[in-house]
Every structure is written in C-alpha cells, then in structure tokens.
Symmetry: C2
Subunit: 649 residues, 2 copies
C-alpha cells in the first residue's frame, strides 16, 4: 500500500526508498560498533538527488556530499499532494538535551530504510559557536546522525556566513548613515546621494521608492523643494533606539557589550552596542520563515532597525540596502540536501535562535520535502527546546507562515529528564550523573511524569495527535521504560514507544515509525492557539496561562511602553515569540515538574518586523554564548595527510 | 610549436586551448557591445575542468560555475615541468586604478583563445567590503573579465568567510582565556583544563605539546608539581600587547576602535581593541603563502597574538586552537576554478590586504596552474598596487615562499596615470576627469614617463625582463600612445605595446601576448633584493633606497624597540612587508612622478609570524575601510523572478 513518488521524469517507475534501502542493507551487514558509523562513507549527493527524484538542473552541488536545491522545484511539483508532516518536540529537558535530533534522524531511517515509506528529515543548521564552544556538534548521534558530520557542523553551504555578511552590512550602514547625516548639510548630503554622473542626475530605484513612501511624487532630482530634500536625505535615526546589532558566528563573550566609533575618524559619535551570535540575527529568522525569493526580499526591506527622532520606525529599505541584502542571501534561500547514516535524505536549512527567535528549521525545506515524499510519505522536522517553547512557536509562528498542517507530534522523553522532574538531584553539563539517574528509581519516574503529561496536554491544545518517543539509555530499567509508556498513554498520548535508534539506527525506531504512521491517519483538528487580531498583551497572556500554566502575566513599564509603541506603529497583529528559559515551564529554571501559581514577568518586548513576530523577554536572555575554560576546540584537530577531522563531536 | 598538456588521462590527445577556442569563436561571432558580455553564459565548470585535464575526483563542484581543486593534483603532476610564470604589475596608479586585472584577463584570453597557447590567470578573491562600499567588484571589466562576476565578487566558495570564522575564534579564545586566568586559582584552572572524565584524567594532544614546549616531560596529569601546574595553566597574556584583532568582511568604520568586555559577565576586564577588514587577517596572508595542509597548520600554530608578562610571544598553539583553525580552513586551502569571458581557466584564491600584508594571490594556485599549462604554457598572476609595492612583495615574499622563478613582468601603464605623474591635476574617485586627461597633451605624458622609467628600473633590480602594457582608453591619442611605447623601450623595457582588451577582449591583447611570449624566452637572471640574514633595519633600508628612491629611513622609538624585540625573539630573519601608500613612490601620496631626497619614516614595526614577515608601518595604515554617503549597495538589486543580480559593477 505504499505509493511511489513520481517526482522525477528520469526514474518514473522506481521508489527512492528502494535505492536507499539497498545501500543501508549493505551497511548494517557489517555494522557492529560505533567506529563503523564514522567509517560509513556517504553516497555521492548527485546519486542521492537522483534517487529522490530531483532533476539535474534542480540541484547545485557543493562538494561530494552536499547540494543546494533550487526553489524552481516547488513550481514543478505544485500539483503534487503534500506528504504527512511530523513535528518532533520534547518534554522540558535537562541541560544535556534529551535527543530530539537523534529521534528525528532515527525516525526517518526507520520509515525509509526499514518500512519502505518515503521520508525526509528537515533539520536546523547548527551555529559554529557551540560547535567550538561547549555543546559540540548537532548532527544527531550514534547510529542516528547526519553524515558527514563535519560538513554538517562546519561551514555547510555558507548560509550562516551569508547571514553574517548581510546582517553586518546593514549594521555598518546604520552607523555610517548617522555619521554622514550628522556631519553634512542637506545640500551636501543630496549632492552625494544623488550625484551628477556624466552631466546627468537621477534617482536610483531604491531612492524613487523612498520618495514615494515620503509622499513626494517627483522623479526629477532638480525639482525637489528644500523641505523635500531635507525629508529625503535625513533618516534622523535616534541612536538610542537602535535595535539592530552586529553578529559573529563565534562564542565571543567579550562582544556582549561594546562601545563602537572610538576612532578619531568617527568624530566622537561613539555609542554602546552589542554583538549577537549570528543565528540570533533577524535575517536567520526570515530565512526560516520565508516562502519565496520575492517574499524574502520584502521581509528584508521591512526589518525595523531603529526609530527616528519622531518615533517612527526606520527600516532596511529606508537605508537603501534591501537589494544588497537580497543579493547576499540569494543562495542561502536554497535548502541544503544531505543524508543520514542510512542514506536517507535530509534537508538542512536555517537555524534561528530558539530564544529570541522561533527555533525551527525552514518553511521552504519542509514545503519542498512534503512534495518530494508524495502523499503517503513523511516529512519529519524538529522544534528546539521543550514543547512549551519550540512546538508552541512551530504551530503559532511557523505553521502560520507556511500554511502547512502538521499530522503528528512526536514528544521525546527520557527517563533521566523525568526523574529530574520527579525531584531528582541537579543535572549539570560536564559533571557526572548522580546515582538516582543510573539506577532504577520508579518513584522518581512516576513523580516526574507530570511534566510529560503537561506537555502532552499542551500538544492537545493544538488538536494534533501525539506519540511519545522514549529515548532509551542503557541505564534505564525495563520497569522504568514500561512505566513511562503506560503513564504517557494514560495521559492522552495516541501511543508511547521506547526507541533505540542511537545504538541500533533505524532498526531501533521501527516501532516508533509504525506508531507515527498510524497516528497520521487519525482525525486531525489542528488549530492555532490565539487569533492574531487580539491585542499583544492578550496573546502573551494566552500563551502564559494555557501553555506555561502561569496564573497571570506582569509587564514592566518598559514592556508596556514597547507594547504601546508597536501597537501604535501598526505591528499589533503579529504572532508572539516568547523568549523564556527552556529549563522550566515557568520563568524560573530551577522549578521542575509542573510549576503552578506563578506570575510570568515580562521585562521587555521587542519586535522582528521582517521575520514577523513580537518577542517578549521573560527575564534576561543572553544572545551571545561564551567559551568555557576548556572549550571543545581543545580536542578538534585535522590530520594534514588524510585530511580527516578529529574530535568534532 | 605548441605542446599539449597531457595532464588528463581522460583526454590525452587534445589540447584544452582547442576546446576553449571553439566556445570563444562561437561567442565573438555575435559580440557587438558590452551588453553581450553580461549575456555570455559560462560553460559548466565540470566541462572546463575536463578541458584543462583535471580528473573527476580532483574537483569539488560548487554550483554550476565554480569548483574547488584538490591539492592531490600537485602530487599527480609533480614530474610535469612548470610553465612560464608571468607577473602583472603596474606603475604608480591614480586612485582609480590602471587596469591590472583587465590586463591579466585580456592577456590569458589572447594567449589561449587567440594564440593557441595554454594559459591560466591566477587572481585574488576580492573582499566584499569594497564590493558594497566604494570600489565595486574586481573581476576585471569590459570584454576582459571573470564570469559570472557576481559569483566572483560575492561569497565565491566561502574562503573569506572561513578566514573570518577562524580569525574570530582565535580572538574569542584570547579574551576568554585572560578572563578565566584572572578569575580562577591554578588548581581550579587545572581541574577544568584537565578534567576527570569517566574516572580518568588525561592530557589532550595539544596539551602534551604545550608541556613539551615548557620542558615538562610528563604525561600523567597527577604527577605535575604545583609549580609545573602553574606554568602549564597560565599563559599570562599581557593584554596591552595583544596584536590579534577581530575581523568582519564589511566596510564598518565604527569598528576601527572599540571597547570590548563591557557586559557585567566579563567582570570589568574591558579593553580597547579594533576590527579589521577580513582580508587583513594574518590567516589570509597564510592562505596566500602556504604550500600544503601541513604547512598551513604549522603556520596557523605559529601565529603570535600577544606577549606574556615576561615579554615572550604567545601563539595560537599556546591557546590550543591550532587544530580547530586548520579544520575551519581545510576547504579554503583549495583554489577555486572559474573562467574568463572567453572561456579560459582562472584560479581565484586568497586576497591578502596589499598594505599590511603582501597583496598577492596564492602560491598554491600558481603552482597548480604552472603544472596544468605545461612547459610551453603561461600562468599570469597579478600583484596589487604599483610595482614598488605589490611586485617587490611578490618577488621578496611570495617567490621566496614558493621557490618559483618568474619569467616576465608585464608593467601596466595608462596615459592618464602618466599625465598625473607629469604634473596633471588631481585625480579623485567620483569626480569627473579634468580636460588634461581627456584631450591630447604630449608634454604631460613625456614628463610623467619618469614614473614608468623608475618602475621599469625597479623590475630590472630583480633580473626579470619587463614588457610594458599600455592600457589604452578611448580618449588617448595615437601620438600619446606612440610616445609612451617609445619612451618605455628607451627606458629598458623588452617591449611596449598598446592593449585594447577592455573593448576587444583577447583580440585586443594579442600583441601583448606575442611580446610576453618572446620575452619569456629571454635570459632570466632572477634574484631577490636582499638576503634574509641581514638585520631587519638593513632590509628595510635596502627596500627604501633601492625601490622607493629614499635617501634614508628613520625609525620612531616604538619602531626601534619593536625591531629589537622581534630580533631578540628570533624573528629577525624574516622578509619585510612594507605598509606604505600606493599613491606615490614615497610615503607622501601627493608626491607624484619620482620623488627624491626624502627620508622614509617608519612609525611602527609589527610581525605576522605565521605568514612569515615583518611589516614596518610607513605612516598610519587604515585596516578598515568605511562606507561613503552613497555606497555601491544603493544600486545593487536582485530580481526575485529571474534571480538576476543588478548593479554589481
């Protein structure tokens, strides 16, 4: 009953899962330990592309194992029905993470290589900051990972670098413009902005657009009045309102707060600023949410970078930089094709920060993959952090942008995290786990299942069936595993299954894949949690109460005045992107389980107008990680003879 | 008498110039104006690679028009004799530049597509800063350019982005390390640097190397004495001596001087720092000078970033980051293959700043190209700025690193620049040219030829024959053109020929190509200008007197103490990389022609130990350009339907 994808004219009678399966069977035959996972050499990406039905001119190859996929594919396949859309989310995690990426990869390996169902994983591109800092790579792990993992974790196809370049060009344009306006007369600015070239003077396209926005319907530079010239040449940016920050894709804590403009050439126009990690750039959020080149260009132009001295928003378009930003991002908009350890296809595309942005991979990759897998196929994507954060943003922000309807949520739990929620001792990165976590303790598990139950209930708010995937560790006892599955089903999960993809690859996630397939055929009554028409504060309150379980919210005066400003500026009907700790359902990371009775404090409210959301800050959110005393890079090395990368895990 | 390159086993009986020629003939047939140059679609890069004898597994394709070439090629072709090696240099230029890149491209187009001689152009990758700032792209121009120029001018294959990532990881490591040392005891540092993992404690490879450098011959972390632990854990960096700066590939003048570390989390350890444009990073200079992956890794480790409190150098290796830097740079080391408008091959690789670094493209690209063209073929590369700067560094630094011997220097001159040297009015970017430059004026030309003569004499110091290429503009009169050629020959040039490649492509440079071919068969007595064994100051004096024509040099006290320090640290026998204005042979940009009687002031002396040179500063050198009031990006746009880039010129 499995239907083939007929995406490719070149291979109309073959299912790509068949190709894929053969390579995997050859592989498992001799896969006995973890060393082999590193030794598995990926198939050439053009072979993979052909297997999944891509035409030769629809891919742009980057080396042997990566290719960008052209958006023209969406046009070619526009009449093809979408596949099933699966989101992998999680319970409230420990600081170590509970393995959502490995579940995502294990699930597609099981679906494609073991159940003969076309499937695609859509993952986020990781930041290089954590790769060299604390966390290490993000390609999954064990027998459920994307290969080659060093390509996945390093430059990939340059998308984050493109974002850095675009972000910083805009930042440089802001400060340079302020300096030029502060040191030149209207006339001198006008002569420079609209110079005489070969005896002629003309407005550029971008300047004509600005004139229209200013209500000046003239096209001849010689006919502007002095007042019109002044309006045209001065953006009058209020430096204290600049929200656009520079970025680097490095964990550089010394850039968290800086003073810029201290050279003599900048004539005293110093100001305090900050650098964020590149994935926190609004341009990354735009890349993740955009649906076409045209849409991306419009979003880039709409980005608000500051207010002018009258309190009106100043945009990238006002600075004349929209076209240049679009040019810098023209390749980044194409998703990158890679493969799992079992040779099944993966899109890696966009990785917005999961705090101040929405933490989900791209809409475009999901859309293309849904066409490629065909009606009975599956696309599995992942939302950062716990379901209260990543999943809520997936539904209310990403699905709104894409118009796509998810079929199933896979909720990842671990015995370890449940024990923590049940009152187990602190779990800290780097420190050995306490014995509560390595020995059977059914009471802690039972007590901690309240968090799992709450996250299931949150999922149900959106009307989508939920399958719990218990990511089994070797220290988990059979009784603990059974208990979690039983309690999950009692809490309303469609099914709950233990998974062993880390140690067994796709084979270890076959039961999960079967459960997901069944759940996808359930009645689905997907709905958003709130209407965009509601006032900003009301939308925040709905998330806080219904999702987090807060008693109420409390806005600081700053937050309230920002809400008023955005509402007055016409941005009131955007969705909400909460910036809250992922370590608790509440705003207090130490409160585990299901905290109740708390008032959620909103310290500030900001906006990403191009990406299209308002983001309230619940406490302070660091947008620049640091390097620890012993960073990951201590163990990273390159063998200059074999060219092999070591220690990147 | 043209010998085929038999580099490829796949096409042993065909010369690649033949393939190339066919595509060009098809093109010129309908090439009537400049619009066609934009419309010319490049051949697929895998086709080009095959034409020039590359094997399938020797290239890594990046999209349709770019490919990285693997260094394994050098091993396969190691017994193949090198081709002829041609350097394109120039007279002292106007601020507009005199067209060295177009001469380089025009010359290879003439050689390959018109004279049936295998040839390769090796060019620098341009910085994105100027592309969006003042200067625009750097792909050549008119009918002598690299296509597609937007790929050339934008991200290319990500090399500059890789440099930025590597440079900034090292910068972050420096400040983080100082913070950690300042806020932790020896014991606590040791516990973090050498943690207990699964009950065991071990040194990493990089830590063992550090112990050996410290003279501690122990491998068990439990056996170090307190004193040894203290030596091991503390780099004791003196923050006031940090020379390693952060970089961005953006013209961001507000980053010329900044204060970092102002967030509370950095506990008051603020310091003043700066950002440079990415191409000014020492890592870029290393990329340009390295000869293998092993060599690059060693150079990266040797980079000196600061002194410790005892005045000893602290290196990247001391910070434990060598391996990570090499991993970040593992793809950047491979040259990128592109093509000219006439379908002839081009390597684009490395583009070090021509001021504080040596301003020449990579040794590796030249070496590979010299093998590929075969014994009778030509590799044409280019040195930034006038011959007094770029060429001097090419010979004394780049040729020393590569061991290659140049056959011919092509010295590019324009009537415009000669008139300026003859006393013509100022030439300024953006302002219209005065009539002296657009009307015939033989006297100004004759008076200005002193600069051409001097640059010819400088070339002759190195024992290499010189051909003058007069880059003809449409306003140049026949008498002016004849005069320049006559005076050039009288000044010792092997030949001097007018070129029209800008308007006519390779056809317009055929005479130049013939002259170059003849000159390459001349007796060549190439020699370096100075011995490395001489004291630093003596080497500086030789360049100042023999090349610039200075009466003498004068070191500031800072410069002198730096010379003393570097000599004492054992870096005295490195070559010299002068950082001097390119707008005059002297240190004063306004002194045109051939200034004499000046004392060259050396304000400071710095060192790039990994790249392998000492760089004296003659006056202040800006390492971060700014954005003008009307930056190039005003005219840059992307058509979201056709995906075509506009305005990138």
């Amino acid at each position: 009953q499995v239907i083939c994808v007929l995406a490719s004219a070149a291979a109309p009678s073959l299912c790509w899962r068949l190709f894929v399966k053969i390579s995997w069977l050859l592989f498992v035959f001799f896969s006995s330990d973890i060393e082999i996972s590193r030794a598995q050499s990926p198939k050439a990406v053009d072979v993979l592309a052909k297997e999944i039905g891509l035409l030769t001119d629809e891919i742009e190859i980057y080396g042997q194992t990566k290719a960008k996929v052209r958006l023209s594919l969406l046009e070619r396949l526009k009449d093809q029905p979408d596949g099933k859309y699966v989101l992998v989310a999680g319970i409230t995690p420990t600081p170590l993470g509970e393995g959502k990426s490995t579940v995502t990869v294990g699930l597609v390996q099981a679906l494609t290589a073991h159940l003969n169902i076309n499937s695609f994983a859509c993952l986020r591109q990781p930041s290089q900051g954590p790769t060299f800092g604390v966390k290490g790579g993000a390609a999954g792990g064990g027998y459920a990972q994307v290969i080659p993992m060093e390509e996945f974790n390093l430059h990939l196809t340059g998308d984050i670098h493109a974002i850095t370049a675009a972000n910083n060009l805009l930042a440089a344009a802001i400060d340079a413009r302020i300096l030029h306006e502060n040191t030149q007369s209207d006339k001198s600015l006008y002569n420079r902005l609209v110079p005489v070239v070969n005896g002629m003077r003309g407005f550029s396209a971008i300047q004509l657009a600005r004139l229209r926005r200013l209500g000046i319907n003239k096209t001849d530079p010689e006919t502007l009045t002095e007042e019109e010239i002044s309006k045209f040449v001065r953006l009058d940016i209020d430096p204290s309102t600049i929200t656009w920050q520079r970025v680097v894709d490095t964990n550089d804590r010394f850039l968290r707060k800086v003073t810029v403009g201290q050279a003599n050439t900048e004539k005293g126009f110093v100001r305090q600023a900050q650098f964020d990690i590149a994935v926190a750039s609004e341009i990354m959020a735009i890349l993740a949410l955009t649906t076409s080149l045209q849409d991306m260009k419009e979003r880039l132009g709409k980005m608000v970078v500051a207010n002018d001295k009258k309190g009106e928003p100043v945009t990238a378009e006002d600075l004349g930089v929209t076209g240049a930003l679009a040019v810098l991002m023209k390749d980044a908009i194409k998703p990158t094709l890679m493969q799992t350890l079992e040779g099944t296809p993966v899109f890696v595309h966009a990785g917005p920060f999961a705090n101040i942005a929405h933490g989900n991979s791209s809409v475009l990759a999901d859309k293309i993959a849904l066409k490629l897998v065909g009606e009975k196929g599956f696309v599995v994507t992942e939302a950062g952090f716990g379901a209260d954060i990543g999943m809520e943003k997936f539904f209310n922000i990403k699905c709104r942008a894409s118009g796509l309807v998810p079929s199933v949520v896979v909720l990842v739990a671990t015995v370890r995290a449940l024990k923590m929620h049940g009152g187990g001792p602190n779990v800290t990165a780097g420190a050995p786990l306490k014995k509560e976590y390595t020995e059977e303790n059914l009471q802690l598990v039972a007590d901690g299942c309240c968090n799992l139950q709450k996250q299931i209930q949150i999922t149900q708010l959106f009307g989508v069936p939920v399958v719990v995937a218990l990511n089994v560790f070797k220290t988990d006892s059979p009784a603990e595993v059974d208990l979690v599955c039983k309690m999950a089903k009692e809490s309303g999960a469609f099914d709950a299954v233990p998974c062993n993809h880390w140690s067994a690859g796709g084979r270890g996630a076959v039961k999960l894949a079967q459960a997901v397939e069944k759940a996808a055929n359930q009645k689905n009554s997907f709905k958003y949690l709130y209407s965009l028409e509601l006032p900003i504060v009301e939308k925040i309150r709905i998330i806080a109460q219904k999702v987090y379980g807060a008693q109420d919210i409390e806005l600081s005066p700053t937050a309230q005045s920002q809400v008023d400003r955005y509402t007055q500026q016409g941005f009131g009907n955007l969705p909400i992107c909460m910036a809250k700790t992922h370590l608790s359902l509440s705003h207090q990371p130490e409160r585990k389980g299901v905290p109740t009775g708390f008032i959620l404090p909103i310290s500030d409210v900001r906006a990403s107008i191009g990406a299209g959301f308002i983001y309230p800050l619940v406490g302070t959110m660091s947008t620049m990680p640091g390097l620890p005393t012993r960073p990951c890079f201590y163990d990273i090395d390159l063998d200059p003879i074999t060219e092999q990368v070591k220690g990147l895990f």
